[in-house]
């Protein structure tokens, strides 16, 4: 039981001591909460609005600016006997202190243990870095668990123990956010902002209509973007958002987007959009090699389901050698088409010879694995425009689907045994 809980009377100096501890051990705060500003003007043009929730959306951690502000206040009010610390704040400060004490202890222990490990591995303590620690643990306690984060690890306490939430209220216990009691202040702030902008744009439109002006043909360029997904929003707002909440968010934002003057709030809208198409991955095209006759060729390996295909694409005249046969190795037309497609797509049907070995799996798997292998090899010979075309056609996308396992009591993965009511 900490000293605080034993009913010791609180003094200002005592508080300051606590706060010193709290601020010293908490990591650097990434943002500063400026607190609630009281009255703010909403009138005026939309661009002048000061209701910006930008600060609200940043992540918040234990201690940080709120506490430092409090320290400042405490300093101001040091002589004031009337200074009252709310129970909520007091409880928060206790937690912060306990946490920081704990972290300090853990930090000291970790340092000793690092020295122990360096000694065990016969390394120099001073240069024994975190990478060395990880290597040593991997050697001393090898584990092949599939989940990497389940394997043994030895990390500094800052990475092991989760950081605690920063206080959401001031010294007097008054929350900083007007929407605090809704439980999702950040999320509802976004909705409020969107509604605010919509109203202000409506006013603007009315004003323009009165003056007989037509809205300009300007539109926000939203090509290639979409609303942030539910998870993205959750991560951004640091709040757990339900499906229903997310639908409401999208509805609200769409309504704002449909406004003829929506281009004036482009900055606000763009904040909640994400780029749809990921940038072209760093495809590592196989390096073309030269064979004895001076023809260049590329090799690759591709898989589909349980099938493995090893493909060599050589400059030639359009011959196929698949497991020692030509393309008629595949009795079905679809499979032959699959294999042919990448070359046909780039109009290079007669530019290359294909030598492929495909093992395991069925015909269709083999064909698709070879198709993927040919596409990969082709990347070594094509221009960047062609590469982009291939990517968009899905030729460079690996089909990672696999057979679903059979379940007990079922006749297949999902199909149920025949049953008739008696």
């Amino acid at each position: 039981m900490s000293e605080l809980a034993k009913g010791v009377r609180w003094t200002t100096s005592h508080l300051r001591l606590l706060l010193d501890q709290a601020t010293r051990y908490a990591g650097p705060s990434r943002t500063s909460w400026k607190g609630y500003r009281g009255v703010s003007s909403v009138s005026g043009s939309p661009r002048m609005s000061s209701n910006s929730p930008s600060d609200a959306n940043a992540p918040r951690k234990l201690s940080g600016a709120a506490v430092s502000e409090f320290v400042k206040n405490a300093h101001l009010n040091e002589a004031d006997p009337k200074v009252k610390v709310n129970r909520a704040m007091r409880s928060y400060l206790e937690r912060a202190q306990a946490h920081n004490m704990f972290m300090k202890q853990q930090q000291q222990d970790f340092e000793i243990c690092r020295r122990h490990l360096a000694n065990m591995m016969g390394e120099d303590v001073e240069t024994f870095s975190q990478e060395d620690i990880d290597d040593s643990i991997r050697y001393l306690l090898p584990s092949n668990l599939f989940s990497r984060r389940s394997r043994p690890l030895m990390k500094p306490p800052q990475e092991v123990f989760p950081q605690e939430k920063e206080a959401q209220f001031g010294i007097d216990g008054r929350p900083f956010r007007s929407l605090f009691y809704t439980g999702l202040p950040n999320y509802y702030q976004v909705l409020y902002d969107a509604a605010n902008w919509t109203r202000q744009l409506d006013d603007l439109e009315d004003e323009r209509v009165r003056k007989g002006k037509v809205p300009p043909e300007k539109q926000i360029d939203l090509t290639g973007t979409a609303w942030k997904s539910k998870d993205e929003m959750s991560k951004m707002l640091l709040e757990k958002i339900s499906d229903h909440d997310y639908r409401r968010f999208v509805l609200t934002m769409e309504r704002l987007l449909r406004h003829p003057y929506a281009y004036r709030v482009e900055e606000f809208i763009k904040k909640y959009r994400q780029v749809l198409i990921a940038e072209t991955k760093d495809l590592a095209p196989p390096v073309p090699k030269k064979d004895d006759s001076g023809k260049s060729y590329a090799e690759s390996h591709a898989t589909k389901k349980s099938c493995h295909a090893w493909v060599t694409l050589k400059q030639g005249t359009g011959k196929y050698d698949i497991n020692g046969q030509d393309l008629l190795f595949f009795p079905r037309v679809q499979d032959r088409t699959q294999v042919m497609f990448p070359l046909q797509f780039l109009n290079k049907l007669y530019d290359f010879d294909v030598i492929a070995r495909a093992e395991f799996g069925g015909n269709s798997s083999k064909a698709q694995a070879i198709r993927e292998g040919i596409s990969r090899c082709l990347t070594a010979f094509v221009t960047s425009e062609e590469l982009e075309l291939m990517r968009q056609a899905g030729l460079l996308t690996h089909d990672k689907r696999v057979k679903e396992r059979k379940k007990y009591a079922y006749t297949g993965a999902r199909s149920k045994p025949q049953w008739r009511k008696r």
Binding site: L328, R336, F341, Q344, G394
Partner: protein, 446 residues
Amino acid sequence: MRSSVSWLRLRNTLTGLTKIHVSTSSRRWIFSSGCAYQQAQPNSQNPVFFDHRPAQLSVTPLVDTSVPAHLPVVNAKRTTITRPREHTLDHEGFYYCVPPEQSDVIYGMSPNSGAFDMRHRTLQNLRFQWELAKESAIMIRKPALEVMEYVKNTNFAHPVVRYVIYGREGSGRTCTLTHLLHFFKDEGFILLHVPKISIWSRRYKEVQESKFKPGRIDLPLDSVEWLQHFLLQNGEHLRQPNTKLVTHKTYVWSKREETPAGSPLSDIIDVGIKRARYANDCIGVLVEELKRIVSESDHRVAVVMDVANALFTPTTIPQVDKTTVPADRLSLFLHFRKTLKNDWKNGVVVTTIDRKGIVDLPLRFDGGGNQFPRYLLREEGWAVMDPFIPVLVNDYSDKELTNCIDYNIETRWLQHVNAGTQKGRDELKVVSQNNPETLRKLMSRL
């Protein structure tokens, strides 16, 4: 989600020639009725495509008044030379038409001709193609020319030369035989033609114990069919008034039935056709007598046999002890094996070999596997046939492929929008890998 869409999209190729779901509308035009195309009179609006064809040929080209606008007007390369003897390597890849009067006799494609059922079962694809195009067009290809060249240079005083036509699945062995059949008929050979041996080992009609030699198995109905086929092909030789094709001894079929020595072979055939019970023995007599007669006379016999290696492989005919009849107990097989030996003269033996339809060979859908003669003929076949001349049938060359596609476009068998374009041709070439049968299957649904 994006990627799954692309997988779906890949089902269709660029030209859309090869795809899984084929709309029935493309077929409807062909199979709309038994007699699909009304013959149109050529006029200025509908010029005759093949106006280079000599007028004396009664084969009329297909000209349809309702030609879709998107179809290109293409003329396949043809030759008007209808005598196979005059075909040379210059005509390789060209089409020529068998004159109908010969075609009916040799191939008997009309349902009224005898043994239609057997030919229907063996030469189905060819029949469809000829019926729909209203002409018996055959592509002139190298293996047939090669065999013809050898036959032309053969000294018929020597023992018969055996030819084994081999090649991979669907490369056109049977089509080579059809060309050669015309050649032999044109040269005046008596045709001993077996359309496909393997139907007797798998798809026989009726089975009975042999009366002639106990333990042997007869196929009476199949034998009757074959005799009818033989009669159809060689009627002119057999029905000649002063024919030399006569028996040299008396054959007693039963107490009351016998064929005296010196009677024409057509009598034997008649006995077989009328009395199915004796049909098998009639074939045996026919083979023996023909071999004997032609060695001494100026008649020549061409033995043309498809899937000859089936003569040396087991059948699927069940026996009482739940085994199947081996090849050397099927009397039909034994009779026809005799024709393959080179103990006679004044003849020629042309056979093909095949993996398909062989009872104890695993069915391979990929068209692979060993296709070479020694492997398929096996020990027994090798002993009978050796030495023979293997003749390889290759897949289409690019020239032949182009002409084949042209012919199919010309006859409106191939109707796809992109079929005539270079991209479409390329796709057909790659997907079929120049294999004639695969190409035919591809085009049949486009």
